[in-house]
């Protein structure tokens, strides 16, 4: 093992001045951290791993050292701690200094090679090979839904094959979502019902539209019922969130540019997003497009028009739905909504406007479920530890249905609950709202009974 250079930093500054930080890391953002430690009890990976290097403060310290050239970005220990982070940004909510941890982490990851083979594969296949390519995505989506229609998940469960197949657990325990191989696309314009109150764009997304097209339809319905013209751009778009959170900066930048261009010139009052990770990313396009001289400024302006679906509808003022849904529902805060976008109350308000729905709170609803973008693929063990405590809190809450607002969380928690043998469906807030507004289809039995 190589000994690291030890430096008397004070003496070094006196002699040589402050070393110039690595290009690509904004040292002012790094130095916002005063290492007070207030973030530690809120960090899920610190709670699981107990190591300072896996705490937000420890990670900021390491990034600072790497930026100053004291450790190498490709040092395996640096890589391990940087990629062991969920990037859930709970530390940002806890931080009184206003450290923009998520942004700093993304900058650091962009300079840090992936840690292991599994991680490199996820990047090559999913982040760079599939999501940015609409046609490949559509074909994969067709196979996914065809497999569900052919009842492959049941077969995997019965035979136990899911335990040995790669991604077996995700295939065997699918969420409430689409299972018709062929599915229509949302119309380019869904006209407002009643008095027109706004004209909005809707991001249908990549994974969201292939696995949760029904949720997109219900989001459009909820918007239309509340007086919005809903515009869906022609291009199939991935906003680049998964790529940016994993540090694939070039892919993220390209997708950000494409997404922003697709919504430009449509005379929109807002761009509505129903996936928390995407919304959070699109609200930070200024950062994603920092190296794109043409679009950088427009990115900041565009970001200001981006709204989460609940956030937008509650601000607009929700019209009460007619249908009752007599259910006990707990809301799981997606990290990129509660910590990334500071949207906490609005999804709860959107749920409680549904007649008959009783909202209960689970413990630690704002703790990461371990999905964390592609984290459950790259770091399954730590991800499972976070999921286990999430499942426990859900069971303790006594909720009949879990509502959330991000495809990754919905997939992860749904898989966890099914494996624990619990019939507690996990759906999107917009699903429940859409069903209450009269959408038909995909209701889990317990929801259908609750609407009778």
């Amino acid at each position: 093992m190589t000994e690291l250079a030890t430096l008397d930093f004070k003496r070094q500054i006196d002699r040589d001045g402050v070393p110039s930080p690595a290009a690509g890391i904004d040292m002012d953002l790094v130095r916002d951290c005063i290492h007070c430690g207030l973030c530690l009890p809120k960090c899920p990976t610190f709670r699981i791993l107990h190591h300072e290097g896996d705490s937000p403060r420890g990670r900021m310290w390491q990034i600072k050292e790497a930026a100053l050239g004291l450790v190498a970005f490709d040092d395996p220990r640096f890589q391990a701690h940087v990629y062991q982070c969920f990037n859930c940004r709970a530390c940002e909510t806890a931080c009184p200094s206003g450290v923009q941890f998520g942004s700093v982490m993304e900058m650091a990851r962009a300079l840090t090679p992936p840690q292991n083979r599994r991680d490199r594969m996820v990047r090559a296949i999913l982040l760079n090979g599939l999501l940015p390519h609409p046609r490949r995505l559509r074909v994969t989506g067709w196979f996914y839904r065809a497999a569900r229609a052919a009842r492959l998940p049941g077969l995997l469960r019965r035979t136990g094959a899911w335990k040995v197949l790669p991604l077996g657990k995700f295939a065997a325990f699918p969420p409430v979502g689409d299972s018709a191989p062929r599915q229509p696309r949302l119309p380019a314009l869904t006209p407002a019902e009643g008095t027109r109150r706004a004209r909005v764009g809707l991001l249908t997304g990549c994974i969201q539209d292939e696995m949760f097209h029904g949720t997109n339809r219900r989001t459009a319905l909820a918007l239309a019922r509340n007086g919005c013209d809903v515009v869906v751009p022609d291009a199939r778009l991935c906003c680049g969130a998964l790529a940016s959170h994993a540090g694939e900066a070039q892919t993220a930048e390209r997708l950000a540019a494409r997404t922003m261009d697709a919504f430009t010139g449509l005379q929109l009052d807002a761009v509505v997003v129903n996936a928390a990770g995407c919304g959070s990313n699109m609200k930070e396009y200024e950062l994603q497009l920092r190296n794109d001289a043409q679009r950088r400024e427009a990115g900041a302006a565009f970001s200001r028009t981006v709204k989460d679906a609940s956030e937008f509808l509650v601000e607009l003022g929700l019209r009460p739905p007619a249908r009752r849904i007599t259910l006990r529902v707990a809301y799981q805060d997606p990290c990129h909504l509660v910590h990334g976008q500071k949207v906490h109350q609005q999804p709860r308000q959107a749920l409680t406007i549904i007649p008959g729905l009783e909202l209960v709170e689970m413990k630690e609803s704002d703790w990461c479920c371990g999905s964390a973008g592609v984290y459950n693929l790259t770091h399954p063990e730590i991800s499972e530890a976070a999921l286990a405590s999430k499942v426990g809190h859900i069971i303790d809450s006594g909720a009949q249905v879990i509502a959330s607002a991000n495809p990754g969380c919905i997939l992860q928690i749904s898989m966890g609950l099914q494996r624990a043998g619990r019939d507690i469906p996990v759906v999107h807030v917009m699903d429940l709202l859409g069903w209450a507004y009269g959408d038909e289809g995909q209701e889990p039995p317990i929801v259908r009974r609750a609407m009778a």
Partner: protein, 492 residues
């Protein structure tokens, strides 16, 4: 420590806690060189034990090998108390964060040292109880660390500091023994008050592995008032007026203009940005009493020059005001990349003149100094803002800190109220204690830690020699800790 010794030590420690929880990789141990102060020093080995028995074994192994031991859990010390200045082994309590027992009817709880202060109160809330001492960092700091520093907090004005709320301790001593001092419940102590001796000893005599604390029923009503003043002097005089009026509120906190700006930017709690100073006051008790006290206090505030007195209209607003106050130090990160915080105490009546003198120091040196502090106790927290990347600033700030603490001591106060002496204030302790006073304290430490291995280089003045145990008798050379384990970087 040479590589062979380190490997041998590591092997023995791993046999106790497992491979995963003891490590000496130079990259990993670098992450245990800092706390919330600007001080740093590298340890040789880090251990993360899971039980009290493991702690006792770890301490025994270190003591046998004559290796220094520094305990830490949240490492939120503002005085360098958890910086392993003589290298050796850092024991961290990240895994020992269990609440072992809540016995509400008998007003007590038993916790491991790594339990976060606020988590204890949150766990007690459903029972209708809470743990009173509430340091501003209570969201992160642990009961073990609170015991080490005899931590305070805003509400200690009326209810007392940590030592008033801890009834007993289980301690791992350098001898390898695991002993109990004090009683397991309030009022049961007999013999010497060893709990009182250990609370505030900053880990220099032993390491707490289990803590018996007193808990208290939640007050039926709490009311928080914010009084707005044109300047710090008027607000300081108001504090004395409040106390003279015969009312002792649960808390009286003061924030000056610069602090208010940082706090408001972080919390959006509604602090007035144009105020020269604000006082945050809290009364609690049964509704009738709180109503009466609140009105009387508002009257005193107005008569003592407050331009406005606001009462938090609901629990959410009350929480927001306190969250702002408690996040104040960290919020300074918004004003400046680095700060150096003092923890001086002055008699309440000396507040106006002390604050004026601090202001003069700021004007003379050109360094901004914020004040946010426990006004009711006269416990000042001047924060000197600086930039560690600018050569010479850190040294200049240390000199300013020294000057301020001298000022406090000369006013009849002390150099620390609640953060501990740690590494930073070791030389300043001379402003309040004579050589003989210190010698007596050191003799007591010697009883429990004959070889000076427990958190060495802290509390007592004297030079730090890297990698060697300190001489038992403190070296009384009048100099500040200029040498922080050479070879380690100092920046924040």
């Amino acid at each position: 420590m040479d590589a062979a010794t380190r490997e041998r030590l590591l092997g023995r420690l791993r046999a106790v806690v497992g491979d995963r929880y003891a490590f000496a990789d130079p990259y990993e141990v670098r992450l245990y060189q800092y706390d919330a102060s600007p001080e740093t020093a590298l340890p040789d080995v880090v251990v993360i034990p899971g039980t009290a028995a493991e702690v006792a074994q770890v301490v025994k192994i270190c003591a046998d090998a004559e290796v220094p031991i520094t305990a830490r859990s949240a490492a939120s010390s503002l005085a360098g108390g958890t910086v392993p200045v003589q290298r050796g082994v850092v024991i961290t309590f990240a895994r020992m964060d269990r609440i072992l027992e809540i016995d509400a009817d008998n007003l007590r709880a038993v916790v491991e040292p790594g339990v976060v202060n606020l988590s204890l109160s949150q766990a007690l809330r459903p029972h209708g109880y809470y743990y009173v001492p509430d340091p501003s960092s209570q969201g992160a700091c642990t009961i073990g660390g609170n015991v080490g520093t005899n931590a305070g907090g805003p509400h200690t004005l009326l209810y007392g500091v940590t030592v008033n709320h801890v009834t007993g301790l289980e301690l791992a001593l350098a001898s390898g023994e695991l002993v109990q001092v004090g009683g397991r419940k309030a009022g049961s102590a007999s013999g010497y008050d060893l709990t009182g001796l250990f609370v505030g000893s900053e880990g220099t005599m032993g390491i707490a592995t289990k803590i018996w604390v007193k808990i208290q029923p939640l007050p039926p009503v709490q009311k928080t008032l914010m009084a707005v003043y044109p300047d710090v002097e008027t607000a300081s005089n108001a504090v004395s007026a409040i106390v003279r009026s015969g009312i002792l509120p649960a808390a009286i906190e003061m924030m000056d203009k610069l602090s208010i700006q940082a706090i408001e930017a972080a919390s959006h709690a509604g602090y007035p940005l144009d105020a020269g100073a604000v006082l945050l006051l809290e009364v609690d008790g049964i509704p009738e009493l709180v109503e009466e006290l609140g009105e009387r206090m508002a009257k005193v505030c107005r008569e003592s020059g407050a331009s406005e007195v606001r009462v938090a209209k609901d629990e959410a607003e009350r929480q927001a005001l306190w969250k702002g106050r408690k996040g104040a130090f960290s919020a300074m990160g918004r004003l400046s990349p680095d700060f150096y915080v003092m923890d001086g105490v002055v008699p309440r009546t000396k507040l106006p003149e002390t604050l004026a003198k601090i202001d003069a120091i700021s004007a003379r040196t050109g360094y901004k100094i914020c004040n946010v502090f426990h006004a009711g106790d006269g416990n000042l927290h001047p924060l000197v803002l600086f930039d560690a990347f600018k050569p010479g600033q850190y040294e200049a700030v240390l000199r300013i800190g020294d000057e301020i603490l001298k000022l406090c001591a000369d006013a009849g106060g002390s150099v620390t109220g609640e953060h501990g002496i740690g590494l930073e204030k070791r030389e300043n302790i001379r402003y309040i204690f004579s050589d003989d006073d210190l010698e007596v304290m050191d003799r007591i430490r010697h009883v429990f830690d004959p070889h000076g291995l427990m958190n060495p280089g802290k509390v007592f003045p004297g030079e730090v020699v890297e990698g060697s145990a300190p001489s038992r008798a403190p070296d009384h050379a009048p100099r500040r800790a200029a040498n922080v384990a050479g070879g380690d970087e100092i920046w924040v």
